[in-house]
């Protein structure tokens, strides 16, 4: 029997609320010897972990329900919250179920956290995972393939057997399927945002941070089917694209507040790991080479990636706004997030050129006061409606 939206959301909410990663522990306990590898935003090729029979687990910080005590002792007041809460999760044993942690290159804070993890969790596998900022196959590509090979060798060692090309190809196929499902969900939401509120879409995506990918793909499709089966009221909301939330996550209450203020979010940059690669990775040929080509030539523009040419700056945001019939952009960046906040004026300049309205605010993953954000988003939505009416 197919699940209802409510049933799906209850499951996703429970996974989201569970800061003890029980589902990961259960997955490991189901078959002795199973292992799990954590990763932080923005992107790691999860296919490599999957191909070793391991569970990739996205660690998106501690959210607004985690009391950060120990983690705060490691950071000055002007550092964002995600490293504090992630450390808190680690120091309180909540991440003991992970056999390793990957720290992708996104900013100096997460980069340095990789070294802190090496010191504080000496018995765990820790790797800073660098991706190239040079997008030529023979230069950045060669470097990236080698870095992925190192990761593949390391993960193979932890798994106790090397990762074969065939296993990698099979994992690429599994993740291609997941990418397609997530893209379908994004398309569905952009077409009928009243049917797929972002507060739900977000939870469905978050479930993918802890569930096996095959299960998550099914979950995404089940959600689309379930929500499409029951008509919901369409409101005269402003269609907005939300950007800047690619690392530290906003509290769920903030997403709800934006929606309650009269905005339909038609695109966003939450959990980019699922959408970093635009389309299918080629499932034949050399798997690392194909993963590299996808990253170099067919991947998302985000602040932690270098834009080779000035003309490229803001291209994704602009295209997305047009493609999804966005009427405005909300810049929602975590406080003290260098990549998002340094990028913002450049993106705003591009939007100005194209006369696309925007508003901007900052948050932390534990932001509690939603009234100002609701007011700001509400005013923004009203102004869009007024301007478009004029």
């Amino acid at each position: 029997m197919s699940q209802t939206v409510q049933q799906i959301m209850e499951r996703c909410q429970a996974l989201f609320d569970d800061l003890n990663f029980t589902s990961v522990k259960e997955w490991k306990a189901a078959v002795p010897g199973r292992k799990a590898i954590g990763f932080m935003p923005v992107y790691v090729p999860r296919e490599i972990i999957h191909a070793a029979g391991m569970l990739p687990v996205g660690i998106m910080g501690g959210g607004d329900q985690l009391e950060v005590i120990q983690g705060d002792a490691y950071y000055q007041s002007y550092i964002c919250r995600i490293p504090r809460s992630t450390l808190e999760l680690g120091l309180t044993g909540r991440l003991d179920c992970l056999d390793g942690m990957l720290f992708p290159s996104i900013c100096d804070v997460i980069r340095n956290l990789s070294g802190m993890w090496q010191i504080l969790f000496k018995d765990k596998y820790v790797r800073y995972f660098d991706v190239p900022q040079n997008y030529q196959d023979g230069v950045g590509g060669e470097y990236y393939i080698h870095e992925m090979q190192v990761l593949r060798d390391d993960i193979g060692r932890i798994a106790g057997k090397p990762i074969t090309d065939d296993a990698l190809r099979a994992s690429i196929a599994v993740y291609n399927e997941n990418r397609r499902a997530v893209q379908e969900l994004y398309k569905y939401r952009a077409t009928k945002p009243w049917q797929a509120p972002t507060s739900e879409v977000y939870l469905v995506l978050r479930a993918g941070m802890v569930l096996p990918v095959e299960e998550h793909t099914q979950l995404v499709r089940d959600y689309i089917a379930a929500t499409d089966a029951v008509a919901r009221p369409m409101r005269d909301n402003a269609r907005i694209v939300l950007t800047g939330a690619f690392c530290e996550q906003p509290p769920l209450g903030l997403i709800k507040s934006i929606e309650m203020a009269g905005c339909y979010i038609v695109d966003d940059d939450f959990m980019l790991v699922m959408r970093m690669l635009f389309d299918d990775v080629v499932e034949t040929g050399d798997p690392l080479d194909e993963l590299s080509k996808s990253f170099l030539h067919r991947s998302m523009q985000t602040s932690s990636k270098y834009d080779e040419f000035k003309k490229d700056k803001g291209k994704y945001l602009l295209d997305s706004t047009k493609l999804n019939a966005g009427e405005g952009v909300i810049f929602a960046a975590p406080s003290f997030c260098d990549p998002a906040l340094l990028e913002r004026p450049m993106l705003q300049a591009v939007l100005n050129e194209h006369k696309i309205p925007y508003t901007a605010f900052k948050y932390a993953e534990n932001t509690g006061q939603m009234a100002p954000i609701r007011e700001q988003a509400g005013t923004f939505a009203d102004s869009i409606k007024l301007w478009s009416a004029a």
């Binding site: 002792a73 490691y74 950071y75 000055q76 002007y78 550092i79 490293p83 720290f103 290159s105 996104i106 900013c107 100096d108 804070v109 980069r111 340095n112 956290l113 990789s114 070294g115 802190m116 090496q118 010191i119 504080l120 790797r127 800073y128 995972f129 660098d130 190239p132 900022q133 040079n134 030529q136 023979g138 230069v139 950045g140 060669e142 470097y143 080698h146 870095e147 190192v150 602040s303 932690s304 270098y306 834009d307 080779e308 000035k310 700056k313 960046a333 406080s335 003290f336 997030c337 260098d338 990549p339 906040l341 340094l342 990028e343 913002r344 004026p345 450049m346 705003q348 300049a349 900052k362």
Partner: protein
Amino acid sequence: MTTPIQMTPPQASKKPVPPAQKEDAMLLQKEMINRNYHELATAHDRGKKVAATFVPGNLNELVMCFDFARSLPETNALQNGMRKKSGKMIMDAERDGHSEDVCTYVKADLGMMLGGEVGPTGEPLPRPDLLLLSYTGCFTFMKWFELIRQKYNCETTMLHVPYQGDGKISQNMRDYVVKQIKENVIPSLERVSGVKFDIDRLRQYMKESAKAEDDLVQVLQSAKKRPSPIDGYFGAVYYIGPIFTAFRGTTEATQYYDVLRREIEQRVREGKGPITPEGEMAEEKYRLVVEGPPNWTHFREFWKMFYDEGAVVVTSTYAKVGGVYDFGFRHDPDHPIESLAEYCLGCYTNLNLPQRIDMICKYIDEYQADGLLINSIKSCNSFSAGQLLILREVEKRTGKPAAFIESDLVDPRYFSPANIKNRLESYFQMIKQKRTVAAGAVH
């Protein structure tokens, strides 16, 4: 030998500031830096192209092969900070839409552009013809040049230098940097300058670099003596000026470091302590290692808090930000490109946290320091994120006391003299107490 010179009085202070005393080498470096600003101001009139690049991982010898005038935005920002100009620039940039949360070097630079592109010395700073984004140890650099590119629309060449996440430089990292230099950086430099690359010219510059690096290391390591003849933080910023910026590889720099080394050797022979802005330090009471960049807007006031208490910084990690030379690395004319790659990969902020801790512990041991002081900079996550763990680990491993103060690079709003002084005084008390306890234990 020392010569009194008139420093620009701080705007915030009403009291007249007495003339600062400086070593001859300090004056010489100031003259060199000022001359570089003049060369930049007149570069386009003289038919020269201008390259902007960053201090950590700069490819100065290579850029000189193409006759570029060289501008270093962090140096511009800090020079504006020392001249008390940066506060307004930062606020102008914030009014222009830049977040209060981000790096103040970037905002000081952008504010300077908004204010008419006048450099720290009052001469115009030309628009760069090339932004050479050699991106070592700091993600902000990447955004910084993207921001400048958006304003000036000038050609940008990226050199991505991978981070030493595993605490070592792998062959893959080295090959990647070498390949980028050969296939991207050199062709861009040739295209923009119209000058063909001559590897022998590069080798010649690198020979000069290596000589200067030898002398610099001798100067910095002179602080192992008691008393230390130099201050390895406040004084060292003058010593590293030429080699970290537009002069590494020039004969001028070689001469400068030769003069400096001789001057310091003389001080050692005479058993003298460091020269401070108020003259020679009388008694060396505390020997410290400092981690983190200095504050530039109140540089002299900050330094005074140390020398007034008889505290000398024997070595600092900041003095390694534009190159770690004291563990043996030298630019190698026999392998010029590979050596440039190695240099970029080895800069201090490209080291991982365990490496940084090892280095500081080694310094505390080799320089017989009383402890570690961390000056945590709000603007600089590359330095600052993780410093509280560095503090704990260094204390644990060395048994020496560590202390933590906070300020900023060039934003005067984040320099709180009373707080810093208070913390420093407590720290000196703590060192004294530890000594007393240790002496008691011996008896």
